[in-house]
Symmetry: C2
Subunit: 131 residues, 2 copies
């Protein structure tokens, strides 16, 4: 754990605004002025892969130091991003009520990630061949 990594992680766990990579860099620079932008990008990428932080599917990408299951509400007007607890998300999607604690939902978008049937079969095959 380098100093750079520690500062990035500390910042993300403190700042709940879902900052961009650029914003993380700007802020960490206050404590470590020579830190490189590329370093911040790489650290964010690694933390993400390790499951230590989470990325938001926004443009530009935003980052979240909180990894307990939750989703996001993005205000179409002010752009602010709010956290939504997982159970509220499910209720909202289930019974189509568009009112949630933080506002009124106009639309939503879900991306599922996993293994498609083809790729599942292939990885099963590979496993079998090794036995």
């Amino acid at each position: 754990m380098t100093n750079q990594k520690k500062l990035v992680l500390d910042f993300l766990r403190r700042d709940t605004s879902h900052p961009t990579a650029e914003a993380v860099w700007e802020n960490v620079k206050k404590q470590l002025p020579q830190i490189s932008r590329a370093t911040v990008y790489r650290i964010l990428d690694n933390f993400q892969k390790e499951g230590v932080i989470r990325v938001l599917e926004t443009k530009p990408t935003r980052f979240d130091g909180q990894i307990e299951p939750h989703q996001h509400f993005i205000c179409n007007n002010c752009g602010k991003i709010f956290d939504l607890k997982e159970e509220k998300v499910c209720r909202c999607l289930r019974d189509g009520s568009n009112m949630v604690s933080v506002g009124k939902v106009h639309s939503f978008n879900v991306n599922f990630y996993g293994l498609c049937q083809n790729c599942q079969t292939e990885s099963d095959d590979n496993l079998n061949n090794k036995l």
Copy 2:
């Protein structure tokens, strides 16, 4: 409706692979070689705002000519993108079954869009002031 717009829309309604802007451009060029990349970007943007097409929250952005409510399953291995009917999405999120018709869900990400309480109140105020 210009020829450029027609060709872009026709292509997106025919191609179900959720192409990138670049891919749309490459394909439409086959029929209209002088079409500009910037034109494709602008047309895609306009169609999106009109609700004629849909954008996927991917990097790079992908486009979908099908606008009936549905969500997407992205294979972590091959990268292929599958459509998921809305009711399957809800069932999957509701009872946590991670098997869907197209594969096995490892994770998902939801973005809600709408008006936060502050912005809702503001727009109500504006309305009231006009009465």
